[in-house]
Amino acid sequence: MTELYERLREAIADERPVALATVTEGRNTGAKLVVEPDGDITGTLGHPELDRIVSRDAVGELAAGRTGVRHYGAEGQARETDVSVFIESFSPPPIMLVFGAVDFTAALARAGKLLGFNVIVADARSVFATVKRFPMADRVMAAWPDEVFDVYGDRLGPHDAVCILTHDPKFDVPAVKRAVATGAGYIGVMGSRRTHATRLERLHEAGVDEKGIDRLMAPIGLDIGARTPEETAIAVCAEIIANRTGHAAPSLRDGEGPIHRPPAGG
């Protein structure tokens, strides 16, 4: 009786994508199907043809990360509405890669956890890249950007974020170079406008093209007057959200003048 629940729970615990289809109206209300990305199913909605069609649709919904109701005929027919099926997608948590083990990193890692990210902090300097300094991170890697991208690069997609806080060309040039070669939805790079201008020259020399440069949110974060590491973390996370939803919000990248100005009317 609890096989469906166990199946679902295990996949979620293992951070594997999984979909749960439930008949919410029509014959066999409450019948369920647990669907895995390879089309493997557990349970039944009451008819093999309905199971086949719904599992096919669920694989698609899962890939797109969508959750919602679809309608079918009793035997899975399209354009009929005898049966309503709620297909719920459970995707593994999105990834946030943070480069640079600085004070801003700890605050950003905490804010990233709040948003449900799987947060990985990386810095080549092993004295700084320690679990003790970043207990909130899911993983701390004492590694160069190349090693980090060798592990995570292929996994990055539209919901994932790369935040490069090193503002040291030795680290951020290789990190940016590898980041723009991934499918990450957000790539933010910390530093003043002046730092970024010189960084752009180095990035060009390193062979990063204009398309790659265009993807960079630099200076990182929304222009909300953030100063402290915590405020900056909120500015970065808000920019990540705005970037994903496509809503208009004032990014520092699109403004000009100093990042830190006296408060208005102050």
Binding site: Y5, T67, F86
Partner: protein, 104 residues
Amino acid sequence: MKEILADLDAWRAEGRRVALARVVNVEGSGPRDPGAAMAVSDNGDVIGSVSGGCVEGAVVVEALDILESGKRRMVSFGYSDDEAFAVGLTCGGTIHLFIEPLDW
């Protein structure tokens, strides 16, 4: 539902009977998207949420009723002028919930 799984596990381990309410559809403005879930145990404990706090109280009543009858069904909450004092979403939307015993 993800965020209430750990609590659900604990309730199941204690042998509690549990009703699960999931948002399956939202019309107009609604505070939570499809997939938001709350659960109610047989002694009235609640975990999770399905709105911004507007309808949770009414969901508990429906959930306990469904736990009693065993009859899983759709339950909708909306807002209209006629029902200004009834349970609804002040944001003007309608949410459709599927509530069922967690017997699977």
